[in-house]
Structures are given as structure tokens and as C-alpha cells.
């Protein structure tokens, strides 16, 4: 069983919501990545989304773009990202790693070469922001072949007919973008997200993660009441950039731990 499926099966058995932090590879430094990933796992991350830096991150807001720019200043490449995953895998055989990025660095490596190298490094899922299902049949097929889950986005504006199309291609989980706009924007509407999640679940049997707009314990709890996974990106990156780089991993871990505690408290209450 793929590590993503195994993780969700286990969480479901215990009635818990997955906590999924996003960090950018190479932010604040490439050398800090092992301690960063370790800190996130110790803080209670169930899955880690690992960013692949790109020069033109069109769907991201300023916070994640800055993270990308910090990584690119050190010339962090897709090959470096895979090396970080391989090193992580030597110490951690269970926590799924999902790469998140844009098509061009993958196409520059070559999709076939990327597929085998990602599998060998221990990557479990890949979300290519600018590969909607219409442009992803070949890519998705090559990912299936090596046992990597292609992860797709769903948006508030995605009509029901398209949800069915996405459901056909997606593996692992689907990622619902809970607001219009780019990563790191404000105004999360929980009620609207809940309605859309109900609609998504009519067509998608995979777990549904929700991201974009989750900034604190309260919004994480509100979303966790409806979603299988809570994805947090920009807010963690703010912790990373807000202070000395040497302590970035411990800041990110400490902040994520507060969210974990809030989710656990909610789940205990629900179970009681």
C-alpha cells in the first residue's frame, strides 16, 4: 500500500484529521532541510508537502514566492529536492512526502526520468499546480506506473462535472483550495467550504484535504470538522522567515505543534 493510503487508513481508524504542513525545499537553506522535516514530523505532521522552487510561481502569493526566491538564490534544483527526500527516507519510512510545484522543472528533467528518480527517492505523491487534468493524462499515467499518486486541485469554482473528471485521474487525496485567489490570501469562508466539500464527496471517494487560508488554531479546527486533511503553507513559511535562519526549523515545529494540539483537543472532545 502507498504510504499516503496507509496514513489515511490509520487516521480514519482513530478518527483523526491529517495535519499537512507545506515547506519550500531550500528555505531558509538547503542544509537546514533534514532538521526542518524532522521538526515537522515531531510536531505532529502526518504528511509533508515539499515545495519545488520555481522562478514564476503564478498560483502562489507573495509569501511562498519569497520562499521560492530564497531557494533559487542557492540554486536549489529538482534534483536537490529529490536528494532531500532520499535522505529523509533513510530515517523515516512511514511519513508520506508529496512534492508540490510547477510543470517546467519536471519537464526540464524529463517526465520519465523524474518518475523513476522520484520513486527511487521515496516520493509518494506529486501535485503539479499548472497541470490540470486536461493536460495531465500522460503525466498521471507515468506516475501511476511507478506507484506515485498524482494529486489534483479542486476550487470553489470547479463545477460538478469537472469534479468527476478530476476524480478519475486523482490518487492519494484531492486538495480543495478553500478560497479564490492565491496561496496566503485571507477570507476563509468555512460554511462555503463545508458545502463544497459535501458536493466533492458525492463524486470523490478519496480523502479530501483543504488548504489556502488556514492561519491559526481556530481556522484549522473549523476546517478539520469537515476535511480529512488540513494543509498549511504560507503561515508556516512566515514562521520560517520571521527570525534567524538557524532557528527556523524549531520555530516552524513549535508553531505546527500548537495546531496539532488544537486538533487533538477537538478530536478528544468529539470522541468523548
Amino acid at each position: 500500500m502507498n504510504r499516503i493510503d496507509a496514513t489515511f487508513a490509520q487516521l480514519r481508524a482513530t478518527g483523526r484529521t491529517a495535519l499537512v504542513p507545506f515547506v519550500m525545499t531550500g528555505d531558509p537553506t538547503l542544509a537546514s532541510m533534514p532538521s526542518m522535516l524532522d521538526a515537522l514530523v515531531r510536531a505532529g505532521a502526518d504528511i509533508i508537502e515539499l515545495g519545488v522552487p520555481f522562478s514564476d510561481p503564478m498560483a502562489d502569493g507573495p509569501v511562498i514566492q519569497r520562499a521560492s526566491e530564497r531557494a533559487l538564490m542557492q540554486h536549489v534544483s529538482l534534483a536537490d529536492v529529490l536528494a532531500v527526500v532520499a535522505e529523509f527516507r533513510r530515517a523515516d519510512a512511514t511519513t508520506p512526502i508529496v512534492l508540490m510545484g510547477y510543470a517546467n522543472p519536471i519537464e526540464a528533467m524529463g517526465v520519465a526520468a523524474f518518475a523513476t528518480r522520484a520513486r527511487d527517492s521515496g516520493v509518494d505523491g506529486v501535485l503539479v499546480v499548472d497541470y490540470p487534468p486536461e493536460e495531465a493524462d500522460g503525466f498521471a499515467a507515468q506516475m501511476f506506473e511507478v506507484g506515485i499518486a498524482p494529486i489534483f486541485l479542486l476550487a470553489p469554482t470547479t463545477p460538478e462535472a469537472r469534479i468527476e473528471v478530476v476524480a478519475k485521474f486523482a490518487r492519494g487525496y484531492v486538495y480543495y483550495v478553500s478560497l479564490k485567489g492565491v496561496t496566503g490570501a485571507g477570507n476563509l469562508d468555512v460554511a462555503e467550504a463545508a458545502d463544497k466539500l459535501a458536493e466533492i464527496r458525492r463524486h470523490v471517494s478519496l480523502p479530501v484535504g483543504v488548504g489556502f487560508g488556514i492561519r491559526d488554531a481556530a481556522s484549522a479546527q473549523a476546517i478539520a470538522a469537515h476535511a480529512d486533511a488540513v494543509v498549511i503553507g504560507s503561515r508556516i513559511i512566515q514562521e520560517v522567515e520571521d527570525g534567524p535562519p538557524e532557528a527556523a526549523a524549531s520555530r516552524a515545529g513549535a508553531w505546527l505543534a500548537t495546531i496539532r494540539q488544537a486538533l487533538d483537543a477537538m478530536e478528544r472532545k468529539r470522541a468523548a
Binding site: A79, A103, E107, D130, A155, T157, T158
Partner: protein, 416 residues
Amino acid sequence: MRMAELPYNLPDERGHFGPYGGVFVAETLICALDELREHYARFRDDPDFRAEFERELKHYVGRPSPVYHAQRWSRELGGAQIWLKREDLNHTGAHKINNVIGQALLARRLGKPRVIAETGAGQHGAATATIAARFGMECVVYMGSEDIKRQAQNVFRMKLLGTRVVAVESGSKTLKDALNEAMRDWVTNVESTFYIIGTVAGPHPYPMMVRDFQRVIGDECVVQMPEYAGRQPDAVIACVGGGSNAMGIFYPYIEHGDVRLIGVEAGGDGVATGRHSASLTAGRPGVLHGNRTYLLQDADGQIVETHSVSAGLDYPGVGPEHAWLKDTGRAEYVVIDDDEALAAFHDCCRIEGIIPALESAHALAYAKKLAPTLGSDRILLVNLSGRGDKDMNTVAERSGLHFYCRPECNPESGQR
């Protein structure tokens, strides 16, 4: 079989020109693009829409633009006859306005009160600001902070026209970053906002739609050339950044199999130096800004910074239809560097009394190279896509002059 003999009906319904084009965007934009595609398909052949578009082009832009025989220059070069398609005479000074009117009319029919645009040199931004004023729409233009410094005059123009110009500080602070930022605005405000893209790039349907609105350039030439020059040209030459003026003049000629189509890319300091914008000549296919096309990128797939003396050609990608025309061999793509473009700029000023845009000067420079190699009975049609008023500062600096003098400086001291 030669491609020129086939009926040409690209893109396919998903926006592909062979392997190029497509819709490579995040899910958050798909719905807006689907809506745009449906509405454009509805209005594309709607007689009322066509009539209004043509009326605006005639009475507001001043079309048709003339074709003009550059007789003195042709004689001096001693070869083929050079004809110029005078897009520089359009209102706002370039071909950009054709497309902007088409998209603004569409925005109005979709009931969107707000338009946004990206701009590099400021020509597309100024054209968008102009139409927004004319139609009473709110307008926001995104422009890299580096370009704002280089193109102060166009920034002022846009402000005069009531547009808000937003400085983009991310990435390389130029056109590609302005495009990223405009996309972000569109994702966030998609219900109220129409995004007017300025070139034949971006996700489907933009490359097709912008080409359709710009094809008026070539359509006019197909009628004008036999009338004034006695026949169709042997070659059509146009500069290529994103490639909208070139697509506009090439498109109606694609099925004229014996007319050479020549796109001229910006060579900057020379392709060998790496400081250039010649995506088709020196790039590799990849995915950027919603489409697959030739891109200037490093080995890791990161988009690299580009350079050209003309801000309007300073872009690391190119429209996907050009990528297809290159691969099939239907069009040829060549490179002209900064110095060659500047020399042609001065020739055109001094010999023909026409101050061309630095973008268009690249096309002129290639005509200048090609003409002497051909007989005097040959005809080269060059798209003079814009006028050079906006480039006065750049040219003055390159020539060692200072166009602007602060009051405290001696006017003579600037004239070395």
C-alpha cells in the same frame, strides 16, 4: 506534403498548436478560462460584435493603416523593394490597440466593469488604459518596477488616462512578473474582472483570440499589396517578442505557400553572450504562463532573465503558434541584435522620415540585411508595428545624448 498546402485550422478545440499551447493553469483559473472560451466562441462570428469591432477600428483607431513603399531606402540598399505596413499610425501608436478593443468589447458584453492588464514597455498598458477610458471601465495595469523606471513616459500616459499602475516588485521585476501578478489579480477577482492579455501567449483561448483580433493587419495587406504593389510580397517580416504583431500579419498569409514568413527575435548583446530574448532561436520547449512553448530557461527549468534594448521584446517565452510555425518550417525565425536594430532605427528616421519603435526596428534591420541579396523586382513587406516616440530616452542614451536635462544642468553639457 508541404504544410502550406494544407488547410490551416489551428488551434484544436483545447487550444493546441501541435504540441504547443494548451491550458496549463491552476484549477482556480480553469472556470474563468472556460467561461471566456464559451463567450468568445459565441461572439467570434456574431455579426453585431464584428460590426462594432470594425466600427471602432475604423473611427477610433483610424484603420485601415496604409502600406507604404520605402522607395529611398530600397534604392539605397540596392535590392528588393521594402514596403512598410504602417501600424505606427494607429491611435496610441502601435498595433496593440486592435486586440485591446476586441477584448474590451468582449468584457463589456460579459458585463465585467473592471479590466486588468500586464505591460512591459507600457504600450499594451497604455492601449488598455485608453480603451478603459473610452468605455468607462475601471482599469489596473501591472508593470515591473524595473520597467516603470525605464518607461516613465508610458506610466504617466496611463495615469493621465485614469488607470492605476501597480508596481510589481517580485522576481526580475519585469514583464513576466507583471504577468504573474495580473494572473493573481484575476484569480482573486474573477467575477468582476476581465484580464486583457496583450500578446498571443497565455492559456487558451488567449493565443487564438489575440491572433484573431490582430489578423486585421494581414487581412488588410492581402488586399492592399496587389492594389498598390501589383502583387503579394515575396516575404513578410515582423519582430517577435510574444509575437502578436507577427501573428497578426502572418496569419492570413499562412496559406499563401509562396510567401516567406520571417519572424525577427531580439538578439540583445548577441545570442552567444546569453543576454538576449531569442526564445525560438536559443530556447527549449517548456511550460510557462499557461502554455507550452519555447522558453529561455536554465538546465533546471528555471526561467532566465532576458535582455533587449526594446522592452517590448524582452520576454522569455513566445506565442505557441510561432513555436508550431517554426517546427513545421512554415515560418523562419532569425535574430537581430541591439546594435543592428539601432542602426536600422536611425536609417528609417533619416531616410524615410519615420521614427520606428525599437521593436519594429528589429524587423527593419532584417529587411535591410535581406534586401541587397535579392533582385529589385522582389518585394519585402515589413510590419512597422509601432512608432518610436516612447523610445526617445533609450535611443538618446545609447547615442551618448541626454534627452532630459534637469533645470540645474547646462543644456549644452548633455550634447556631447
